[in-house]
């Protein structure tokens, strides 16, 4: 047993932390988030050159063949930087979709392009009625000759407008919440019948409502087995959960540091407010919540790859519950302890808090995962 980083992992951690500290300043990040694209193409190319986009791509496809732990190391640093580049959707969800569902042909086409920074992927898995239930799918894929015709709407598809390929979950059989009868399709962004209604998200990102109106795809667009895609979707979303948990840990650590600095410098009643015990204990609770979350994020990263399905599910859901609760507590208290300054748009604190809050309602909130954990023994 060893719950510490390898030398390579430590180097990766140092590299990405240096990049965030030196180049990913809050002001620049704000500018990229408000640009037309919503992120920096230059960064994306750098990420590719550094191998970061290929962590979850095997060496034969031009990647590093790394593990979820390395992805978590990156995501933790990305959390500190509030990185807006579409890493999660392309280099975590996109690669996982291909690994667990893709044909040899699909992998050969897309994985090298992802690793090289030439292809962006988005994943539409939620619908307006589904909340976090992955099998609640009403978008229909109807067999039509050699191919399929897709109709329906997918909700809050992150980074859809910038994507070259969008993967959607559809129903090819069964009733609307059946586990059976769900299939995945790869759709090219320019496919006729696919329309996007794009918007900014409160955490500085981009998403879209995706409308499918008689969108026609070929038989080669099917990702994985027809009617049996749910286990793949679940596995892919678990990878996404591990990634956002690590991102949340980076955010929580940054909020703890900012709050601690503020407690030591802000003077009231003739002394630093950090001398007041009520604030000291609050700060300790924040710090401990952050460290407990870090343990859970890396535990889940290890178990994502190593454990069998039930253990993986429990580990991932447990981490999401811990991080959801800790994130809400730390985010709220960081704002509170900064007083009115914490309410300003100028400070990073509120922006961290917003991203943490959105992570809570991504891939299932604490209540959803508490239920999944409790019922998966």
């Amino acid at each position: 047993m060893d719950f510490t980083f390898t030398l390579e992992q430590k180097l990766l951690k140092e590299n990405v932390e240096r990049f965030i500290a030196n180049e990913y300043t809050f002001d620049k990040r704000r500018a990229w988030a408000h640009s037309e694209l919503g992120f920096s193409r230059e960064h994306w190319t750098r990420f590719a050159e550094l191998g970061w986009l290929g962590i979850d791509v095997t060496e034969e496809h031009g990647g590093l063949g790394g593990s979820a732990v390395e992805q978590a190391i990156l995501m933790e640093a990305f959390g500190r930087g509030l990185v807006v580049e579409p890493y999660l959707t392309t280099a975590v969800l996109g690669t996982a979709l291909l690994h667990h569902g893709g044909s040899i042909q699909q992998k050969q086409t897309l994985l090298p392009a992802i690793a090289a920074g030439e292809s962006l992927i988005a994943f539409g898995f939620a619908e307006s009625q589904s909340r976090y239930h992955l099998a609640d799918v009403t978008t229909i894929a109807r067999k039509d000759g050699d191919g399929f015709v897709l109709n329906g709407t997918k909700s809050v598809v992150f980074n859809a407008a910038g994507a070259d390929t969008i993967v959607v979950s559809t129903r090819t059989g069964g009733a609307s919440r059946d586990d059976h009868g769900i299939s995945l399709f790869l759709i090219e962004r320019q496919t006729p019948g696919l329309a996007l209604r794009e918007y900014a998200t409160v955490d500085g990102g981009r998403a879209a409502e995706l409308l499918l109106n008689d969108a026609r795809v070929g038989a080669d667009a099917v990702l994985g087995n027809i009617d049996n895609a749910l286990p793949v979707i679940e596995r892919v979303i678990d990878a996404g959960i591990v990634a956002v948990c690590a991102e949340a840990v980076g955010i929580m650590a940054a909020l703890c540091q900012a709050t601690l600095d503020y407690l030591k410098t802000r003077q009231q009643f003739g002394r630093p407010i950090g001398e007041f015990q009520v604030l000291q204990h609050r700060m300790v609770d924040m710090y401990v919540a952050c460290e407990l979350s870090r343990s859970m994020a890396y535990m889940a990263a290890v178990k994502l790859d190593d454990a069998e399905a039930t253990e993986r599910r429990r580990a991932v859901s447990a981490a999401k519950v811990q991080i959801g609760r800790a994130g809400r507590f730390i985010g709220q208290q960081a704002v509170q302890l900064h007083g009115a300054m914490g309410m300003t748009d100028e400070l990073a604190v509120g922006h961290y808090f917003k991203r943490l809050t959105m992570i809570e309602s991504t891939f299932g909130d604490a209540d959803y995962h508490l239920q999944r954990f409790a019922n998966s023994e």
Binding site: F3, T4, A21, Y24, A77, Q280, E291, L370, A374, N375
Partner: protein, 418 residues
């Protein structure tokens, strides 16, 4: 923008440590675990095991006979250096050992000798003290208790007033200690005493070993509201203590006391014992009925259990991070404070769940049912009798060993620099 330059936490540095992440046991670790498990299964007396499993009262002989079994095997003091009778195990092996002790339903090892005064004597004691005291701690020939708190010195421990006045080759001790667990069993007490009243309060304290059988020592039991008699007041009335029983230097006792608090306490969280108790919650909830079906099938209750289980996992993996860092040769400040306050919060949360599980059968007050030798028909389910006393008794855990509020003060100061 907050940069990546370290949020100055020791645990954070830990996240930047060495080797490959693997949460499974190596073959060597698995073999070690199996060896410990087999030993416990073979040697732990059945009547003691049953008492621990059912949270019944343990008496002195239960503790001592189990400690002697460990002593004979050479496993009494894994936290000591090998030359003094330690095992030479790695931090991970020590962690696994403690886990097996918990999962095997063994009595807790009385901490005052082997976990507390032992390491202080090893670190700061004279050669003569080591020769004299350590072997008898290992063999449980001497049982120890801790003379820290006083009626006027609890969380403000340094304001203690028990006085030791030097008189030739002796100290003459006067004063009172309180909340002294197991004083009624103990042969020796390690005491913080004031040897210089003029100095700043932390600087006039010495660490003195006192024979409980000395003339002038008296013990009065304090009954707690759960019905237990574990704690005592200890009075010192002109007690003559040989000067050779002073540990280290006079007036340096506060340093030794702090060492003791922070020393080797990765087991302090009690994660494995909590896991065992949580399994008991599920087992009993499967037997209790609610709306005609097992309580365990009631979604709201399932989720209550799950919430505690998840918090326990978070503590477990934090504990493992700390142990693995120790294995990699790193030390950390205040980690035992984190483990202590979270560990006790969760232990208490689990006793709450147990209490909720048994519903009405929390009410009967039948102290005989949890004492040695009760053979009558139980009132309600047999497992219910010990639970309310356990729940009430376990409120002590967030108070003893430095209240949880004091632990947070320590973390604020040592880790956060507040």
């Amino acid at each position: 923008m907050v940069t990546a330059t370290a949020f100055n936490s020791t645990l954070n540095q830990l996240a930047g440590a060495s080797l490959t992440m693997d949460l499974t046991l190596s073959d060597k670790e698995r073999a070690f675990q199996a060896q410990v498990r087999a030993f416990i299964a073979e040697r732990l007396p059945a009547h003691i095991k049953r008492k621990v499993e059912d949270s019944l009262q343990l008496v002195k002989e239960d503790y001592v006979s189990w400690q002697k079994i460990l002593y004979e095997r050479g496993w009494m003091a894994p936290n000591w250096p090998k030359q003094y009778g330690g095992t030479g195990w790695t931090p991970i092996e020590r962690y696994l050992f403690e886990e097996e002790l918990a999962l095997g339903s063994t009595p807790r090892i009385i901490p005052f000798g082997v976990a507390m005064v032992g390491p202080v004597i090893i670190e700061f004691g004279s050669e003569a003290q080591k020769q004299r005291f350590l072997p008898r701690i290992l063999s449980s020939e001497d049982l120890w208790c801790q003379g820290y708190s006083e009626p006027g010195a609890g969380s403000d421990l340094a304001s203690l007033t028990t006085r030791a006045r030097r008189d030739g080759e002796h100290y003459i001790v006067n004063g009172a200690k309180t909340w002294t667990t197991m004083a009624h069993y103990a042969d020796w007490i390690f005491c913080l005493v004031r040897t210089d009243s003029a100095a700043k309060k932390q600087e006039g304290i010495s660490f003195l070993l006192i024979d409980m059988h000395s003339p002038g020592v008296s013990v009065r039991p304090i009954r707690t509201f759960d019905g237990a008699e574990e704690i005592n007041e200890v009075y010192f009335d002109d007690v003559s203590v040989p000067a050779e029983n002073l540990v280290g230097e006079e007036n340096k006792g506060w340093t030794y006391a702090k060492f003791l608090l922070g020393h080797e306490r990765t087991g302090i969280a009690g994660v494995a014992r909590s896991k065992k108790q949580l399994a008991r919650v599920k087992e009993l909830a499967a037997r209790e009925l609610c709306d005609g079906k097992p309580l365990l099938e009631e979604q709201r209750f399932r989720e209550k259990i799950a919430a505690v289980e998840i918090e326990l996992m978070a503590l477990e993996y934090t504990n493992l991070r700390i142990v693995c860092a120790e294995q990699a040769g790193e030390t950390m400040a205040a980690e035992s404070s984190i483990l202590k306050f979270r560990g006790t919060e969760l232990q208490q949360a689990i006793t709450e769940l147990l209490l909720e599980v048994i519903g009405y059968y929390a009410h009967p007050n039948v102290p005989q049912a949890i004492a040695q030798g009760w053979n009558e028909e139980p009132i309600g389910p047999a497992y219910a009798a010990s639970i309310a006393p356990l729940y009430f008794n376990w409120r002590k855990t967030s108070i003893y060993g430095g209240t949880n509020e004091i632990q947070k003060n320590i973390i604020a100061k040592m880790v956060l620099g507040l």
